[in-house]
């Protein structure tokens, strides 16, 4: 009855079991009391007047008229007093259950030994078969189903794309399926709930995840939120596939320098992983097309990452995709991950480098050897401390004495040198050589002088970072020292993760992961911010973004690259020269002046040269005519040619005359030649390698350990596919409720109006019928 009345009064109430308490209250109770107090004398006054003015009416009609008028006045008094009702409710909400189904390439692997059924097929069939479970979940929860691989996609799993043929190969060529970003997908799915209560998350996967952020990080962050009072959803992970690891040999990666010089002995470091073939011997072969460049025999060891070093001599110029192939041992069923492609571009360029260093610090000692081994670099090394020991700084050790002298080099590398070796005049000459002649400048910080001894001098103006004039420590050493328990961690920026200096792998994500795993630093230069227009490639800080560690910018025609640490030797950890040498080799070539990039030359370039399907490449083409004048056409056409692929791309004009650029997003793996014809009619081309990411199929087993750990991290559990019937029970928990208190006016409604109208009509009706005035 109460709820009927409340609803009749226009008060919004939910189910009766949600209302905990009702209170009838008045906004202005004084008006009510005054009204009630005056009601009796008013009724007496009205009755007296009615008796006097309407003596001809029967007493019952007169009494009714009095009642109408008194009721009318009382109703007005009540409205004036502002009656309202206070509703205390406890609102229950239907919680969300998120279902994430892995649809990445690794889910196309056989679900069971000796079975043609893929993991994805097994999952779909099981999910379709368990209709009762799904119906129960849909009845009790707001069920949200998603598929995920490189990102998250909405999907009803039982209405997902039709099963692919059982013998279909893994969808490696599919840019979306090439990665499985569980962490990212989980983050997106949780974000899409928009604060709604989440009862649970169910993850169907083979546990081979390759994207960022790490799923464990996402779960940890979410768990921290949940522990701050929010209800903790149940995380249920469901492995899809065989319990036993499948016997497999996998080539994990092949690290080779991206650019080499003809005549170089090129080393390719190959990493393999094996399961189930312990003690067997295989051949690991390096091929260039059909020709074998090197081959080694490897005795397989189960459960261990094994490394093999292959080498060859680069004897011709040009880019090539070298294939590293591990011969399949007898009985290996899945061989898609036995090969990998490494991209190597051989040129006959030699970069002329002038390297000035103060003393033989560790980075120098490794670089010294590296530069001497690098046939693509012709380096002149000048060590200030040696000159000082011989007391020969007076002649500056044969350093250039004018701008022309500096311009003879393609790159000048400055270590921890002092202004005694590089006085202001020399700095001015160097600055002029950089800005007007395009000489590259690479500056590496040091504790003794660089950059704090140059603050306020011409060299400082060349740097992409703002330096502080400090010799911070009592020992007179510059820079910022990390606290022993809080060292600096290098974080690559978006620009850095695909920068030529840092490029090791085919994807930005893998590059970032690889570089951010490098050892921590305990010192960096006192450069806390970048200058306007500079690009920060890496930062240093304990957590998240910090001061610029590595940055670059253009000064006139030249490029200046800043390295704010003196400890890049730490990148030798475990692998020796492979990261250290690669960074420096690529950084030197990137920063150095390139004559083939002169304003009167045509050239074409693609960045990066190696990428994964779905990545975006930046293509630039500089076109000049026979006289060297820039092309003034509104656009240019770039031709793409690969294995069975031919296409044309329209390039738009860029910032400077004759320069055109376009973005290209290849979806099909292969070695592509990109070519364009300049205004002089000459064709220029470059090569890029599009290779599928390796992570998905590197390990063909179902990673139950990872899935179990993930569930445990969130306080959930791991279920087998056969146990899906327990899902409803696991997700069962008290429905979350939200207490709510509302005040609702109860006079402003049709009932009050009807009462008023009824009393008025009754009064008028009686008077008309009885002939009263």
């Amino acid at each position: 009855m109460t709820y009927w009345l409340l609803r009749a009064l226009g008060v919004r109430v939910g189910a009766a079991d949600q209302v905990e308490q009702l209170q009838w209250l008045w906004h202005r109770p004084a008006y009510l009391w005054v009204g009630l107090f005056l009601a009796a004398p008013l009724a007496y006054l009205i009755a007296t007047r009615q008796r006097k003015n309407q003596p001809h009416l029967r007493p019952r009609w007169r009494g009714t008229l009095v009642a109408c008028r008194v009721g009318f006045v009382l109703l007005l008094m009540a409205v004036l007093a502002g009656p309202y009702v206070r509703v205390r409710e406890d609102l229950a909400r239907r919680p969300v259950v998120i279902v994430l189904a892995d649809e990445s390439a690794s889910m196309s692997l056989p679900a069971l030994p000796e079975s043609d059924l893929s993991r994805a097929q097994l999952l779909r069939r099981t999910w379709t078969r368990e209709k009762a479970v799904r119906d129960e979940l849909r009845r009790r929860f707001d069920l949200r189903e998603y598929r995920f691989a490189a990102d998250l996609r909405d999907s009803m799993l039982d209405a997902a794309p039709p099963d692919s043929p059982p013998d279909s190969p893994p969808a490696l060529d599919d840019a979306w399926a090439g990665r499985s970003a569980l962490g990212w997908s989980l983050e997106q799915a949780l974000g899409a709930t928009a604060g709604a209560p989440v009862a649970g998350v169910v993850v169907f996967s083979d546990g081979q995840t390759s994207g960022t952020p790490n799923a464990a990080e996402v779960v940890t962050r979410a768990a921290a939120r949940w522990s701050r009072g929010l209800d903790r959803p149940t995380l249920v992970t469901v492995p899809v596939g065989a319990t036993q690891p499948s016997a497999d040999v996998s080539v994990i990666e092949a690290l080779a320098p991206a650019r080499v010089t003809v005549g170089d002995s090129v080393r390719v470091l190959v990493t393999l992983a094996t399961t189930g073939f312990d003690g067997q011997e295989i051949d690991v072969t390096l091929r260039d097309g059909g020709s074998v460049l090197d081959r080694q025999t490897l005795t397989l060891r189960d459960g261990r990452r094994q490394r093999v070093e292959l080498s060859f001599t680069a004897d011709t110029t040009g880019a090539r995709g070298l294939t590293v192939e591990a011969s399949p041992p007898p009985g290996e069923r899945f061989t898609h991950n036995n090969t990998i492609t490494a991209f190597v571009d051989a040129t006959d360029d030699r970069v002329k480098v002038l390297y000035l260093e103060y003393g033989p610090r560790w980075d120098f000692r490794f670089l010294d050897h590296g530069l001497r081994r690098d046939r693509g670099v012709s380096a002149t090394l000048v060590m200030q401390s040696q000159l000082e020991a011989r007391d020969s700084t007076g002649d500056a050790g044969g350093l250039p004495t004018d701008m022309e002298g500096w311009s003879r080099y393609d790159l000048v590398m400055l270590g921890d040198v002092s202004p005694a070796l590089l006085p202001a005049t020399a700095q001015e000459q160097l600055a002029e050589a950089v800005s007007s002649r395009g000489v590259g400048l690479l500056v590496q910080a040091g504790v003794l002088h660089m950059p704090h001894a140059f603050v306020g001098q011409p060299l400082e103006r060349l740097l992409p970072v703002a330096c502080e004039p400090v010799a911070s420590s009592a020992r007179g050493l510059g820079g910022i020292e990390a606290l022993p328990y809080s060292p600096f961690v290098m974080r690559l920026s978006v620009a850095g993760s695909m920068h030529p200096a840092f490029q090791v792998y085919e994807t930005a994500q893998k590059n970032r992961q690889a570089w951010e795993r490098m050892p921590v630093f305990y010192w960096m230069a006192s450069a806390r911010r970048e200058k306007a227009g500079a690009t920060v490639l890496a930062t240093a800080g304990e957590h998240g973004p910090g001061a610029p560690l590595i940055a670059e910018h253009l000064v006139g025609r030249g490029r200046v690259l800043w390295i704010g640490t003196d400890s890049t030797f730490l990148w030798r950890r475990n692998v020796g020269d492979h990261f250290f040498g690669r960074f420096w080799g690529q950084a030197i070539r990137h920063a150095a002046r390139r004559d083939d990039r002169a304003p009167d030359r045509s050239w074409i370039e693609a960045t990066p040269r190696q990428a994964a399907p779905g990545d975006t490449l930046l293509l630039r083409f500089h076109s000049v005519d026979k006289s060297g004048a820039p092309d003034r056409s509104a656009s240019a056409t770039l031709r793409v040619k690969g294995d069975g692929v031919t296409a044309s791309l329209a390039m738009e004009t860029a910032d400077s005359a004759g320069l055109y650029q376009a973005q290209w997003r290849p979806d099909v793996p292969g070695l592509y030649t990109l070519s364009a014809t300049d205004a002089a009619g000459k064709t220029h081309n470059t090569t890029v390698l599009i290779a599928p990411p390796r992570d998905e199929l590197a390990d063909t087993s179902v990673n139950r350990e990872a899935l179990g750990a993930l569930a445990e991290l969130a306080g959930g559990t791991m279920l087998e596919l056969e146990q899906l019937g327990r899902l409803s029970e696991l997700l069962d928990k008290p429905r979350p409720s939200v207490p709510r208190v509302r005040d609702e006016d109860v006079w402003d409604n049709w009932l009050t109006l009807a009462l008023l109208a009824g009393l008025y009509c009754l009064d008028i009706g009686i008077r008309r019928m009885q002939g009263a005035s």
Binding site: G359, P360, E481, A482, Y485, W523, A706, A709, L713
Partner: protein, 348 residues
């Protein structure tokens, strides 16, 4: 406990499934963890004067090994958690340098040259952290002494005089000279040429290296072990050739081949000496040799580390300072440092 559990689980997850490239770090992470425990042990054992006690007391051989253990882990002077430990150690060695350039060990063993070479190596590497002119002058004088003390045969012996020579002392001088070259200190080419001649002379027809030309094994050791050829000398000879850049010498291939068949076990005489030299030589050889020796050494050292971070001394226990295992712990750390590839002297 809940936090620890969460971290452990997270680590397990990150190691086993997130990005497989991270898996490759598992072994090196275990090495680094063992090293960190070892360095913490050494830091605790350092005396306020900066030295580490050993069987002789204050011996620069052990002091230098301890300092190299920190440097080889990537710790640098003037920064990081061990800056005071390292600064004190450097000071403790530098103050003992005499007018001849010798880092005179306060408590030497047979003679000062063994300790001097190790101290010179450690000082040259430390000089790379803060390469001041003063430091350069000190290490150059130490190198000059090594050059002056070379025997007529091309090798070195315990005393800083050009008289006798043996391969063991010679090997460590060559490592110091190699470090000096890397640091652009002055090392006469003639010194290196004569040293190469001496190492060649130590190569015996069996493919191993003699302690001294014509004397495969020191008599005392031959009596104690029954060895005809010493694995330690084979490793020292092979590494000496590598330090001289003489990879094409027949002796290098012979030495590597000899080391392949060595019965490697902790109970062997000069276990730590052999471990370090053989692992370094294998690293210099690269390829299969490195794969073979790295797979031998890493699991063994990781398994044998004590709970307090030290390593047992085995047959070299007498070189430790009683309960304080500075010698064996420093040598084990220096050996594990080979996996990190940080020390410039040993770059390939």
């Amino acid at each position: 406990m809940r936090l620890v559990g969460m971290i452990v689980v997270m680590l397990a997850f990150s190691l086993c499934g997130v990005a497989q490239a991270q898996d490759a770090d598992v072994e090196i992470t275990a090495v680094e963890a063992a090293l960190d425990r070892g360095l913490a042990y050494l830091a605790r054992g350092q005396r306020p004067e900066g030295y580490w006690p050993s069987w002789q007391g204050n011996n620069h051989g052990v002091n230098a090994l301890c300092l190299l253990a920190f440097l080889g882990r990537g710790h640098q002077l003037g920064r990081g958690p061990y800056q005071k430990v390292m600064a004190d150690a450097v000071e403790a060695i530098l103050v003992t340098q005499d007018d001849t350039g010798l880092f005179r060990s306060p408590n030497p063993s047979h003679g000062p040259m063994y300790e001097h070479a190790l101290a010179t190596l450690a000082m040259i590497e430390a000089y790379g952290c803060i390469p001041t002119p003063q430091f350069r002058a000190r290490v150059q004088r130490a190198v000059d002494l090594i050059v002056r003390a070379q025997s007529h045969a091309g090798g070195w012996r315990y005393q800083p005089r050009p008289e006798e020579a043996d391969l063991s002392v010679t090997a460590v001088q060559l490592i110091a000279l190699r470090a000096a070259q890397n640091a652009r200190l002055s090392v006469p080419q003639e010194t290196l040429d004569r040293a190469l001649a001496y190492v060649r002379a130590c190569l015996n027809p069996a493919g191993a290296f003699d302690y001294q030309p014509g004397l495969p094994v020191h008599q005392d050791i031959a009596q104690a072990t029954g060895w005809k050829f010493s694995p330690a000398m084979a490793a020292a000879g092979t590494l000496s050739l590598a330090m001289l850049g003489a990879f094409d010498e027949p002796g290098f291939a012979h030495g590597v081949a000899f080391m392949r068949d060595v019965e490697y076990r902790p109970e062997m005489l000069y276990f730590y000496y052999t471990t370090h030299y053989a692992l370094q030589a294998a690293f210099q050889a690269g390829g299969d040799e490195w794969a073979r020796w790295s797979a031998r050494v890493r699991p063994l050292l990781l398994q044998r580390q004590n709970e307090d971070g030290s390593w047992p001394g085995y047959a070299e226990e007498r070189f430790n300072a009683g309960e304080l295992r500075t010698y064996s712990t420093a040598f084990a750390c220096v050996s594990l440092n080979v996996y990190l590839h940080y020390l410039p002297a040993y770059q390939r």
